[in-house]
C-alpha cells in the first residue's frame, strides 16, 4: 500500500503548527523521482513528546563500553543508572579466563545526597581502589551520570591518579545524560576515548593470521557476532577484534593490526572507523550481515578487497553451502510470511538492515526509521559536509587523530582504492533511504503519538521496534518483534540467524493467539481505519 505525501500532511495536521513544522522535517514519503530527499535528524526531541530515545550515558556505557567483558565498568552517580544498564541489552559474552569476565556485574558509586553536596571524587577513588583489590581487572572505565558534571567532579583527574596508583588503564567518560540529543552523543564519547586510550595500546605490529579484520559496530545481541564469526573464520579471516560485542580490552588494544575494518552499525562506530583510516591507513567496509543476500554481498565485498584467489574461492564455497542450507530453512516460513508488511523502527542501523531480511521472507517494509541516527545514516555519507552542527552536537568533543608515524601504512594504493570504491562501499555508507521503495515512509525519532497514527494508517502485519512501544502496538492487535533485545531469542545475523528470524517472525503470524482477539460478543473490524481523535499535540 503506497503512502502519499498528502496522507502524511493530513496526519501531521493534527499537530499544532509549530510541532507540525518541526516533525515534518523528520519524515518523508520515498519518491525516487526526486533527486534527493533530505531529512532532519540528530536534533532535539520535543519535550513531552514521548519517543524511544535514551541519553549519552546509555550510548556510552550501555551500548559501546558495556560489552567489553574484561573491564570493570564503574558508573559514577546515584545507583539508578547503573541498575538500568545491568544486563538489559542481551549482549552475550564468553571468556577463556573466567576471572576476567565481569559481564554480569553492575558497579556503582551509589552517590548519596552528601556526595552531591560535597563532591563525589573521593568516593569514586575509593570505589576504584576496592574494585582493583577485589577483581584485579586489566582495565577500568568510569562513566559519569548527570549530576557528576554539574557538581564539577573531575573524573579524569581521579582516574588518572588511580591509574598511577594501580598501574592499569583507568579511563573516564564524561557521558552525562544531558549531553547531546540522544544516545548518539554517548557513542561518540566512547569512540573517542577507546580510540585515544585503547586501540593501538597493544604491542602487536602484525596480525597473528591472514586477512586480519576488525568487526566494528557489532554488539553480539543474542549471539549475532558468534554466528558471523563462525562464517568468517571458516572462509579464512583472522578476527583481530570485535567492537564491542563479546569484546575485550585485550583484543581491542591490538585492533590497529587489522587490514580491513568492517562496519556493521555505522551510526555507533563510524568515528572509530574513520579515525582508524586516518591513523593507520586502514579502510573500512560497510557490511550488513542481516539477511542472506546482504550477508553474501558483504562476504563478496570483503573478498574483493583482499583479492586473494583462495579467499575468493572459499568465499564462494561457503556462500554456496550456507545459502543453500539457509534457503532450505526459510522455505517453510516464507509461506507464512509472504505478502505481509512490516513497520521497522529501530536504533541506528537495524531500521535499515532488517529490511532486506524482511524482503527475503516476502515481507515489505512500509515504514522505517531510526531512533538516534544522523542525516548520513538516512541519506548517505556524502551529505556529511552539509550537516549543520547545532549546539548540542558541538558540545561533544571531536578527537582529531593524526597518522601514526610508526604504524601508518596504506593498505591499498590510491588507484586500487578508487577502483574498489566504485564497486563496493569502501569507507562509504549510502544510507537507508536509497534502498527504499516509492510510497514507503521514512521517519526519524518517531514518537508514541505518531506510532499510533502510522499503525492505523499503514496497518502493518508486524511491528519491529523495542519494548517501550511493543505493548502499545500489541494492544492494538499487531504482533511486535523487539529488534533491540530480540525477545530472548537470536542470533538473527548471518545465514543461521536469518532462519531464526524467519522462525520467530512466522511465530508472530502463525500463533493461534491472534485468532482470539475479537471477543464473541463484540465483533469489530481489526483496525479502525479512521484516526481517533482523543488528542493532538
Amino acid at each position: 500500500m503506497a503512502f502519499t505525501e498528502q496522507q502524511l500532511e493530513e496526519m501531521l495536521s493534527q499537530y499544532s503548527p509549530k510541532v507540525q513544522k518541526n516533525r515534518k522535517k523528520h519524515m518523508f514519503v520515498r519518491d525516487t523521482s526526486l533527486e534527493h530527499q533530505q531529512i532532519e535528524a540528530n536534533t532535539r526531541t520535543i519535550p513531552g513528546v514521548i519517543t524511544n530515545r535514551g541519553c549519552a550515558f546509555a550510548g556510552c556505557k550501555g551500548v559501546v563500553l558495556g560489552p567489553l567483558k574484561d573491564m570493570v565498568h564503574i558508573v559514577h552517580g546515584p545507583v539508578g543508572c547503573a541498575f538500568y544498564t545491568w544486563g538489559a541489552r542481551r549482549n552475550k559474552a564468553k571468556s577463556e579466563d573466567p576471572t576476567q569476565n565481569f559481564m554480569n556485574y553492575c558497579f556503582s558509586t551509589d552517590m548519596q545526597e552528601s556526595d552531591i553536596v560535597f563532591g563525589g571524587e573521593k568516593k569514586l577513588a575509593k570505589v576504584i581502589d576496592e574494585v582493583v583489590e577485589i577483581f584485579k581487572p586489566h582495565a577500568i572505565t568510569v562513566s559519569a551520570t548527570c549530576p557528576v558534571g554539574l557538581i564539577g567532579d573531575d573524573i579524569n583527574a581521579v582516574a588518572k591518579a588511580a591509574e598511577e596508583r594501580h598501574g592499569i588503564p583507568i579511563m573516564a567518560f564524561s557521558c552525562e545524560g544531558y549531553k547531546g540529543v540522544s544516545q548518539s552523543a554517548g557513542h561518540h564519547i566512547a569512540n573517542n576515548i577507546l580510540m585515544d586510550r585503547v586501540i593501538g595500546a597493544g604491542d602487536l605490529e602484525k596480525a597473528p593470521g591472514k586477512f586480519p579484520i576488525n568487526m566494528l559496530g557489532e554488539y553480539n545481541i543474542g549471539g549475532d557476532s558468534w554466528e558471523i564469526e563462525r562464517v568468517l573464520k571458516e572462509i579464512g579471516y583472522t578476527i583481530v577484534s570485535v567492537m564491542t560485542g563479546d569484546g575485550s580490552y585485550e583484543e581491542l588494544k591490538n585492533a590497529h593490526v587489522a587490514e580491513l575494518n568492517l562496519v556493521q552499525c555505522h551510526r555507533s562506530i563510524n568515528y572509530i572507523a574513520e579515525m582508524l583510516e586516518t591513523k593507520y591507513g586502514t579502510p573500512w567496509l560497510k557490511v550488513n550481515f542481516i539477511g542472506i543476500q546482504s550477508t553474501i554481498e558483504s562476504l563478496r565485498n570483503m573478498a574483493l578487497y583482499f583479492n586473494d584467489p583462495g579467499l575468493l574461492q572459499r568465499t564462494e564455497e561457503v556462500i554456496a553451502r550456507e545459502a543453500a542450507k539457509a534457503e532450505k530453512g526459510l522455505e517453510q516460513y516464507r509461506k507464512i510470511c509472504e505478502g505481509k508488511t512490516a513497520f521497522c523502527f529501530v536504533g541506528g542501523s537495524r531500521g535499515h538492515h532488517y529490511q532486506g531480511l524482511f524482503a527475503e521472507l516476502g515481507i515489505e517494509t512500509v515504514l522505517a526509521g531510526y531512533e538516534f541516527a544522523h542525516r548520513d545514516d538516512y541519506e548517505g555519507r556524502q551529505v556529511i559536509p552539509d550537516i549543520k552542527l547545532d549546539a548540542d552536537t558541538k558540545n561533544i568533543p571531536e578527537l582529531h587523530v593524526k597518522q601514526d608515524e610508526r604504524r601508518f601504512c596504506l593498505k591499498l594504493t590510491p588507484e586500487k582504492m578508487a577502483e574498489l570504491k566504485a564497486k563496493i562501499p569502501l569507507s562509504y555508507y549510502a544510507g537507508m533511504s536509497v534502498e527504499m521503495k516509492d510510497g514507503t515512509v521514512i521517519v526519524d525519532d518517531l514518537n508514541h503519538f505518531e506510532t499510533e497514527l502510522f499503525i492505523k494508517l499503514l496497518q502493518p502485519d508486524i511491528f519491529a521496534s523495542g519494548i517501550k512501544d511493543k505493548y502499545v502496538v500489541q494492544k492494538m492487535g499487531i504482533p511486535a518483534k523487539q529488534l533491540h533485545s530480540y525477545d530472548y531469542s537470536g542470533p538473527y545475523a548471518g545465514f543461521g540467524g536469518a532462519v531464526n528470524f524467519a522462525r520467530d517472525v512466522s511465530m508472530a503470524f502463525a500463533s493461534p493467539t491472534w485468532n482470539f482477539i475479537v471477543p464473541p460478543w463484540k465483533d469489530q473490524p481489526l483496525l479502525n481505519g479512521a484516526v481517533n481523535s482523543e488528542g493532538v499535540a
Binding site: V19, R44, T45, I46, P47, G48, V49, I50, T51, N52, G54, C55, A58, I74, P78, V79, G80, A82, F83, Y84, T85, W86, A88, C106, F107, S108, T109, D110, M111, Q112, E113, I116, K123, E130, C146, P147, L150, I151, G177, Y178, K179, G180, V181, Q183, A391, D392, H448, F449, E452, K468, D469, K470, Y471, V472, K475, M476, N528, E534, G535, V536
Partner: protein, 454 residues
C-alpha cells in the same frame, strides 16, 4: 547492619532510584500522566523496566533537558513538556518528578508548575511536583514520598463520609484485586490509593486508548480528609514519607498502620482493623478461607521447617514476606533491602525475635552482600524480585519470585500473594520450591545411577 561499614562500591544493586518509585503511584491515579524533569534517558530507562515487569505500555513524558538546560534552567522545557502531554493525553493530573539533573541544578518545580497552572487557567488539571532526585533514596522511598505528595496536593477539607482511605505500597495488580475482594466481602466503602490494578494490568480491549481505564479517582482523593479512618499498609514507612501521617496530622483522620496482608497474622490484623472501624464482624466466608490457610500451613509445616530463607526487596514487602516465613518456620537467615535505614529495622527485629538463629539484617544492601551472607548462612530458598536470580545461578539457591521487578518470567502482575487465599498459594510456591529442591537432589542421584537402565 552493613557487612563492611567502610565499603563504597555497590556491586549488583538491590534497588532502583527514587523517581522510578515515584512513577508507580502516579500510574495508579485515574487519567494521570508523569513527566520526568531531566535528561530523557531517565524516562526511557524507567519506562523500559516498568514495561518489562508489567508487559504494559508505560507512557512517561520527559522534559528532555540538555546541556543548555543545565546552564539556563529547564523551565522552558518543562512548560513545553506540560503543553504536549496535555494535548496528547488530556490528563486530569500530571505528576512532575524531578531527577538528579533537575535537583542538582536547583529547579524550583513547585513554582514553575504553580505558575504554569495559573497562567494557563488550568483549574481542572492537577499538577503534582515531587522532588525525587536519584540520590535522594531508593525507589521504595520515592514511592511513598510521591504518594504523600499526591495526597498533600489534592486533599482538601471535605464533609465526613464513610469511605475508608486505604493506602497501599507497591503491590501486584492481582494483590490489589484480592484486597478489593476482601473489602467487598467485609462490605467496606473505601478509597484505595494508588490503584494500578486496571491501569497496569490492562485487558486487551478495542479500541486501544492512550489512557487506561481505572486508577484511584481524583475526587475520591480530594475527599480523603472526610474519611472515617486511614488504613496504611506501611509498617516500614517513616513519618516524613507517610501519606497516612499527613492525613492524620493535617486533617485529623485516624491512622491505622498495618502490614501487607500476607500471612495469617497480617491478614488477621487487616481484617481486625476493618472490623474495628466498621463495627462489622469478619464474615464466615473469610473465616473459612482462614481455616483453609491454616490447614495448608499444617499440611506443609514439615517441609517448610527445613527452609532457610533469604528475603530481599522493598522494605514493606520484605517485612510481610518475613512474617510468612516466621509463621511457617521457614526461618530467615537474612533479610535485606537496598533501601535506606528506616523503621524496618525495629519492626523486623520485633518480628524475628523468636528466630532460632539471629537474622542477618542488611540495609542499603547490594547483591554481593546478599550472596555472601546467603552462602555463609546456608540459605536454601531465596524470596524476592528477579534480580536475585544470580543467587540461583551462582549459589544454587532457588528463587521464589515476588515483588518488583520480575523481568525474567512472565506474570509478575498476576502473582497473587495476599489475603488468606493468596497466602496459601504463595506458601505453596515456597513449599514446592523446597520440595523440588529435595526431590531434585534425590533425582540427580537417581539419574546418575540408573539413567542407562532406561
Amino acid at each position: 547492619m552493613k557487612e563492611e561499614c567502610c565499603r563504597n562500591v555497590n556491586e549488583n544493586p538491590c534497588n532502583m532510584c527514587m523517581p522510578m518509585g515515584g512513577i508507580l503511584p502516579l500510574k495508579g491515579i485515574e487519567r494521570s500522566m508523569v513527566i520526568l524533569h531531566g535528561s530523557q534517558g531517565c524516562s526511557t530507562y524507567m519506562r523500559r523496566h516498568i514495561s518489562e515487569h508489567f508487559s504494559e505500555p508505560i507512557d512517561i513524558g520527559s522534559s528532555s533537558l540538555n546541556e543548555k538546560g543545565t546552564i539556563y534552567g529547564g523551565e522552558k522545557n518543562l512548560r513545553l513538556a506540560l503543553d504536549n502531554i496535555r494535548k496528547v493525553y488530556n490528563p486530569q493530573l500530571i505528576g512532575v518528578l524531578t531527577t538528579c539533573l533537575a535537583e542538582t541544578i536547583g529547579e524550583d518545580v513547585n513554582r514553575i508548575t504553580a505558575e504554569y497552572r495559573e497562567q494557563n487557567g488550568l483549574d481542572d488539571l492537577f499538577i503534582v511536583p515531587v522532588s525525587t532526585p536519584g540520590y535522594g533514596g531508593s525507589h521504595a522511598e520515592g514511592y511513598f514520598y510521591t504518594l504523600r505528595a499526591i495526597i498533600a496536593q489534592l486533599a482538601a477539607p471535605a464533609p465526613k463520609h464513610n469511605k475508608i482511605n486505604l493506602l497501599l505500597p507497591n503491590l501486584s495488580p492481582a494483590d490489589i484485586r484480592e484486597i478489593k475482594r476482601l473489602l467487598a466481602v467485609m462490605q467496606v466503602d473505601y478509597t484505595l490509593c494508588p490503584d494500578i490494578s486496571d491501569t497496569l494490568d490492562r485487558p486487551f480491549v478495542r479500541p486501544y486508548t492512550k489512557m487506561p481505564e481505572g486508577g484511584t479517582r481524583i475526587a475520591d482523593i480530594r475527599a480523603m480528609p472526610g474519611a472515617p479512618a486511614t488504613i496504611q499498609m506501611g509498617m516500614t514507612v517513616a513519618d516524613d514519607l507517610s501519606p497516612g501521617k499527613y492525613l492524620a496530622d493535617t486533617f485529623g483522620v485516624p491512622l491505622y498502620t498495618v502490614p501487607i496482608p500476607l500471612g495469617v497474622e497480617n491478614t488477621d490484623r487487616f481484617l481486625a482493623v476493618l472490623s474495628e472501624i466498621t463495627g462489622r464482624p469478619v464474615p464466615e466466608a473469610l473465616q473459612r478461607e482462614r481455616g483453609r490457610l491454616l490447614d495448608c500451613m499444617v499440611d506443609s509445616h514439615k517441609y517448610n521447617f527445613q527452609g532457610r530463607s533469604v528475603i530481599f526487596g522493598e522494605p514493606e514487602l520484605v517485612y510481610a514476606v518475613t512474617a510468612v516465613c516466621m509463621e511457617n518456620g521457614i526461618f530467615p537467615v537474612a533479610v535485606a533491602t537496598g533501601s535506606r535505614p528506616g523503621p524496618l529495622r525495629a519492626v523486623l527485629s520485633q518480628l524475628t525475635r523468636d528466630c532460632p538463629e539471629p537474622v542477618e539484617f542488611l540495609e542499603e544492601a547490594d547483591f554481593v552482600q546478599i550472596r555472601t551472607v546467603s552462602r555463609q548462612k546456608k540459605a536454601n530458598i531465596a524470596i524476592g524480585h528477579s534480580d536475585g536470580r544470580y543467587l540461583t545461578e551462582r549459589e544454587g539457591i532457588p528463587l521464589v519470585r515476588i515483588g518488583f521487578p520480575i523481568l525474567d518470567r512472565v506474570g509478575g502482575p498476576r502473582l497473587l500473594s495476599v489475603g488468606y487465599t493468596g497466602t496459601a498459594v504463595f506458601l505453596d510456591r515456597l513449599t514446592n520450591t523446597l520440595l523440588e529442591a529435595k526431590h531434585g537432589s534425590y533425582r540427580r542421584t537417581l539419574y546418575d545411577q540408573y539413567y542407562q537402565a532406561n
